[in-house]
C-alpha cells in the first residue's frame, strides 16, 4: 500500500487536527477566518472546535477535519544519515572498546570569528537542543580553544593533543570568510600531517551547505541545527567503527 490518507478512527477518513493562532480579535469573523484557512490547507469539511482570545489582538484555534490530500509513500525522498545515531552511553562504550583510550577532539572558532555559539553548543557540557555537549561524554577528551584562534595555533594544538578530530565553527560569513577560513585550515592540516595520520576535519555553521565537504577539503560539514549527539555519533562512526572495519579488512 503506497497511497495513504490520515487515520482518525476509520480507514480512509483522512482526519487531522491542527492548531494555530490568527492575529485578530476573537469574533464570528475570526472563526470564519480560521475555517477559511483550514479549507485552503485542504481540510474540508473543517470543524473549528475551539477558539480562544489571547489578549485583545490574537485568537487561538483548534480545528478538526478531513483532508482531501493523499500521500504516496513510494515518492517520499529523504536524505539518509550515513551513520547510526548513538546515545552517549553507546558512544562511550564504542570508544572504550574500539580505541582503548579517549577520543580526542580539538575545537575552535578560527579567523576573526568571535562567535563561539556553535562550537560551544557542540562541545560545552551545557549542549544544545536538550542534548549534552561532547564534554559530557566520559570517553571523549575535549579541548575547546575558543574564539579567534589562528590556524597555525590550531594545528600546533591538534598535534600536541594527538587530536582524532578537529572541529571548527564559523558563524561570520562576510565576504565568504567562512569558506576561505575553512580552506586555509584544511590546507594547513594537509601540509602538517601525512595523509593517513591527519585528524578528521569537521566544520560547522549556519551558512554551510552539507554537500561542500570535498570542495572545502574537510571530511564533513554540519549545517544549522546539528546536535552534539549527531556529531558524537558521526565521530564514533568515522573514527572508531570504520577504522576497526578497515583494520578487520586488512587482517
Amino acid at each position: 500500500m503506497t497511497i495513504l490518507r490520515p487515520y482518525g478512527d476509520t480507514t480512509g477518513d483522512g482526519m487531522v487536527q491542527v492548531s494555530f493562532t490568527l492575529p485578530m480579535p476573537h469574533s464570528k469573523t475570526a472563526e470564519g477566518a480560521a475555517a477559511q484557512l483550514a479549507g485552503k490547507m485542504g481540510i474540508d469539511p473543517a470543524m473549528v472546535v475551539h477558539a480562544k482570545p489571547m489578549g485583545p489582538d490574537f485568537t487561538f484555534f483548534v480545528v478538526y477535519g478531513r483532508v482531501n490530500h493523499l500521500v504516496d509513500t513510494s515518492k517520499v525522498q529523504v536524505v539518509e544519515r550515513d551513520y547510526p545515531l548513538l546515545t552517549p552511553k553507546e558512544v562511550n562504550l564504542a570508544v572504550k572498546r574500539g580505541l582503548r583510550r579517549k577520543l580526542v577532539v580539538v575545537g575552535a572558532c578560527i579567523g576573526s570569528d568571535a562567535h563561539t555559539v556553535g562550537i560551544d553548543a557542540i562541545l560545552n557540557i551545557k549542549g544544545f537542543a536538550g542534548e549534552k555537549g561532547l564534554e559530557y561524554y566520559g570517553e571523549v577528551k575535549v579541548v575547546n580553544l575558543g574564539a579567534q584562534v589562528a590556524v597555525p595555533q590550531l594545528v600546533a594544538r591538534a598535534q600536541e593533543e594527538g587530536a582524532d578530530a578537529v572541529l571548527v565553527s564559523q558563524v561570520v560569513t562576510q565576504r565568504d570568510a567562512h569558506l576561505l577560513n575553512t580552506k586555509e585550515m584544511s590546507a594547513a592540516f594537509r601540509e602538517a600531517y601525512p595523509a593517513d595520520k591527519r585528524p578528521l576535519l569537521i566544520v560547522g555553521g549556519p551558512r554551510f551547505d552539507e554537500s561542500m565537504a570535498a570542495e572545502l577539503g574537510v571530511d564533513r560539514v554540519f549545517a544549522r541545527g546539528t546536535t552534539p549527539g549527531e556529531v558524537a555519533s558521526y565521530l564514533t562512526d568515522a573514527i572508531v567503527t570504520r577504522r576497526a572495519a578497515r583494520a578487520g579488512a586488512g587482517a
Binding site: 553548543a121 549534552k132 575558543g146
Partner: protein, 555 residues
C-alpha cells in the same frame, strides 16, 4: 515565603538549623513535614560552612578585571568607543598595562583625576585609550587624596543603587505583590529588545509576575558588557545597561496597568558577573540568576575567577535588594535526577552559605531545583515531591525557584502538557516560591504566543484547583516521601564530607580540589585553568576598592 522585609539574621550561616520550629511544642510531634532531624540539618549547614569558608578567604585575597570594571561602572563610567568596546574595558586595560590591578583600579584612576589629567572618568578613559596618560600607584598625601576622591564618586554610585532599591520598595507598596504563591516566572528571548518588550508586556498581561530576558548564547564568555539597545542576539538578547533600562521602564508601565509589580530578571553570570550585577542594581532589576558554580562547571570559567566575581556580585545584589536565582536545575539536566538528587541539595547548601556570607538575606535566596525525573520510573512523582519538599523544609524562608521538565520533553507536546501539569501540582503542593512556567514545546521551538497562553492556563488551573492543598499535604513520617527526603539529605552530607576531605597536590581549598577532580556534574575543572584566569590578580597589601569597602562595611 517571599517578603520584602526579613528579620532573619544576616551574615551568619549555619546557626539556624531547625526546620521544625513551627510545629514543635515539645513532646514527639513530627518536626516539620518531613520530620528532619535538626541535628542532621545543623550538620549539613556546618559542613557547607567548612567547605565554603576557605573559598571566601580565597575570594577576599583576589580581585579580577571584572570586579574592578564594576567599580568603574559604579563610579559612573558608561559608554563604549567606536568599536563597541566599553570605556571601562579601555580604561582598565590601560591602567593594568601600567601598574597592574593588584592595588585595585581606584587608586591609579582617581590619582590621575586628582592630578588633573582629565576632568572626568569618560575623558580619562579616552585619553588612556589613546595612550596619553600614564598611571601610577599614588603614595603619601596623593594616596589619601585619590582614596577620598574615589570613595566620594563610587559612594555616589552606591547611593543610586540604594535609591533604586527604595524605589522598588515604594512601587511594590503602591502596586502590590502577586496575589498567589508561587510567583509565575516567564521567559522572553527574541534577540531583539524591541520585540522582547511587547512580548514581555503581553506575558505580564496574561499573568506573568516575573519576566526573564534570556541572554544571547555566548554572552557569558564575553569579557565585556555590550553597550546600548541591541536588536540581534543568538537565542536571546544581550544584557546591556540600556536594554535593562528599556525593559524595566516597559514593565513599570505594565505594573501600573495591571496593579501589581511585575519583576524583571536577568543573568549575573559569566565573565562579567560583577559588572552585570552593578548594572542590575543601577537599573532596578529585581532578580538575577547567580549560581556559585555554574560558570565553572558549564562554561569552563576559571574557578577562582568565578568565586571572586561571585562574591562581589552577591554583595551588590544584597545591597540592591535583588533576589538571586541559583542554578541547581542544571545538575539535573546533565546527570540522572534520581541518582544526582543529593548534588542539588549540596549545591543549595553551598549557595546558601556563600549568599549569606555575602550579606544576602533568606528572602533573597531563590535556590533552584527542578522536576527532571524520568517519568517512566515508577513513583517518579512521589520522588519529585520528596525532593521539592526537602528543599522547602531545609530552607523554609527562601523563595525557592522551581524549574520545569526539559530533559524528558520529547516533542510530544500533548504528553509534555501533562508533565507540566504535574510539575505545577508539585509546585503547589510543596509551597514553591517562584515557578518557571514549563512549555509543552520545550525542545521543539522557542515558545509561540499560543504555547505561552496554554502554559499559563495550565498553571492557573492547577494553582486554582489545588488551592491551599499544601496545608493538607503531610506525608507520613515513615512513608516513602519522608524516607526518600531523609536519604537525599544523608547523601548530601556524605558528599559534603567527601568534599571537605578532598585534597590536591597544590594545597588548594578542598572545594577547588573537588571541582578539579570532577565531583560535580562529571566536569573536571582545575583551579589553574579555564577562561578568565588571566583576569585574576592576588591583592597587594595596599589594595583598595571603594565599592568593596562600602559593601563589606555594610555587614
Amino acid at each position: 515565603m517571599v517578603s520584602t522585609s526579613s528579620t532573619g539574621g544576616r551574615g551568619s550561616t549555619g546557626g539556624r538549623g531547625s526546620t521544625g520550629g513551627r510545629g514543635s511544642s515539645g513532646g514527639r510531634r513530627p518536626r516539620g513535614k518531613l520530620d528532619l532531624d535538626p541535628v542532621t540539618v545543623r550538620k549539613a549547614r556546618s559542613l557547607a560552612r567548612k567547605v565554603g569558608r576557605p573559598i571566601v578567604d580565597l575570594a577576599q585575597q583576589h580581585t579580577t578585571v571584572s570586579v574592578e570594571r564594576a567599580t568603574l561602572r559604579l563610579g559612573g563610567l558608561q559608554g563604549a568607543d567606536a568599536d563597541g568596546i566599553p570605556w571601562v574595558n579601555r580604561l582598565l586595560d590601560a591602567v593594568r598595562g601600567d601598574v597592574g590591578i593588584e592595588h585595585g583600579i581606584a587608586l591609579p584612576v582617581w590619582d590621575s583625576l586628582v592630578r588633573g589629567e582629565a576632568d572626568d572618568l569618560a575623558v580619562l578613559a579616552q585619553k588612556a585609550a589613546a595612550g596619553s596618560v600614564r598611571f601610577r600607584v599614588p603614595e603619601g598625601r596623593d594616596l589619601v587624596r585619590a582614596r577620598s576622591a574615589a570613595r566620594k564618586q563610587v559612594g555616589a554610585g552606591m547611593k543610586k543603587v540604594d535609591a533604586r532599591r527604595r524605589e522598588r520598595e515604594r512601587l511594590v507598596r503602591k502596586w502590590g505583590d502577586p496575589e498567589q504563591k508561587p510567583w509565575i516566572y516567564l521567559i522572553v528571548a527574541t534577540g531583539d529588545i524591541y520585540e522582547d518588550i511587547p512580548q514581555a508586556q503581553q506575558a505580564a498581561r496574561e499573568g506573568a509576575d516575573v519576566i526573564a530576558v534570556i541572554r544571547s548564547t555566548g554572552q557569558s564568555l564575553l569579557d565585556y558588557v555590550p553597550e546600548g539597545a541591541t536588536r540581534e542576539g543568538f537565542a536571546g538578547t544581550y544584557a546591556t545597561q540600556e536594554n535593562f533600562r528599556l525593559m524595566r521602564a516597559a514593565l513599570d508601565e505594565s505594573s501600573a496597568e495591571l496593579g501589581r509589580y511585575v519583576r524583571l530578571t536577568n543573568y549575573a553570570s559569566g565573565l562579567c558577573m560583577p559588572e552585570i550585577a552593578a548594572l542590575a542594581g543601577l537599573e532596578r532589576l529585581d532578580m538575577m540568576l547567580n549560581d556559585s558554580m555554574y560558570g565553572i562547571l558549564f562554561r569552563d570559567i576559571n574557578p577562582i575567577r568565578t568565586f571572586v566575581d561571585q562574591r562581589f556580585s552577591r554583595q551588590v545584589h544584597a545591597r540592591a535588594g535583588i533576589i538571586i536565582n541559583t542554578g541547581e536545575d542544571n545538575y539535573l539536566t546533565t546527570a540522572d535526577a534520581v541518582e544526582a538528587a543529593h548534588t542539588v541539595t549540596t549545591s543549595q547548601l553551598l549557595n546558601e552559605y556563600f549568599a549569606k556570607e555575602a550579606g544576602l538575606e533568606d528572602w533573597q535566596l531563590g535556590l533552584g531545583h527542578a522536576f527532571e525525573i524520568d517519568p517512566e520510573i515508577p513513583d517518579s512523582f512521589r520522588m519529585e515531591l520528596a525532593h521539592a519538599l526537602l528543599a522547602r523544609e531545609l530552607f523554609p524562608d527562601a523563595p525557592l525557584k522551581w524549574m520545569p521538565p526539559t530533559r524528558h520533553m520529547t516533542g510530544d507536546v500533548f504528553r509534555g502538557y501533562l508533565l507540566d501539569g504535574f510539575f505545577n501540582l508539585a509546585g503547589a503542593l510543596t509551597g514553591q516560591g517562584i515557578l518557571l512556567v514549563g512549555m509543552m514545546t520545550e525542545a521543539v521551538v522557542t515558545p509561540w504566543l499560543s504555547d505561552r497562553d496554554l502554559a499559563l492556563q495550565n498553571v492557573r488551573y492547577v494553582l486554582n484547583a489545588a488551592g491551599g492543598l499544601a496545608e493538607d499535604f503531610r506525608p507520613a513520617s515513615d512513608g516513602f516521601i519522608a524516607e526518600r527526603a531523609r536519604r537525599v539529605l544523608a547523601e548530601s552530607i556524605d558528599l559534603l564530607e567527601q568534599i571537605a576531605s578532598d585534597r590536591d597536590a597544590a594545597g588548594d581549598p578542598p572545594l577547588l580540589a573537588a571541582i578539579a577532580d570532577g565531583t560535580f556534574g562529571l566536569m573536571k575543572r582545575p583551579a589553574d585553568a579555564g577562561r578568565g584566569l588571566d583576569g585574576v590578580a592576588a591583592k597587594a597589601p595596599e589594595y583598595f576598592n571603594p565599592a568593596s569597602e562600602i559593601l563589606e562595611g555594610e555587614r
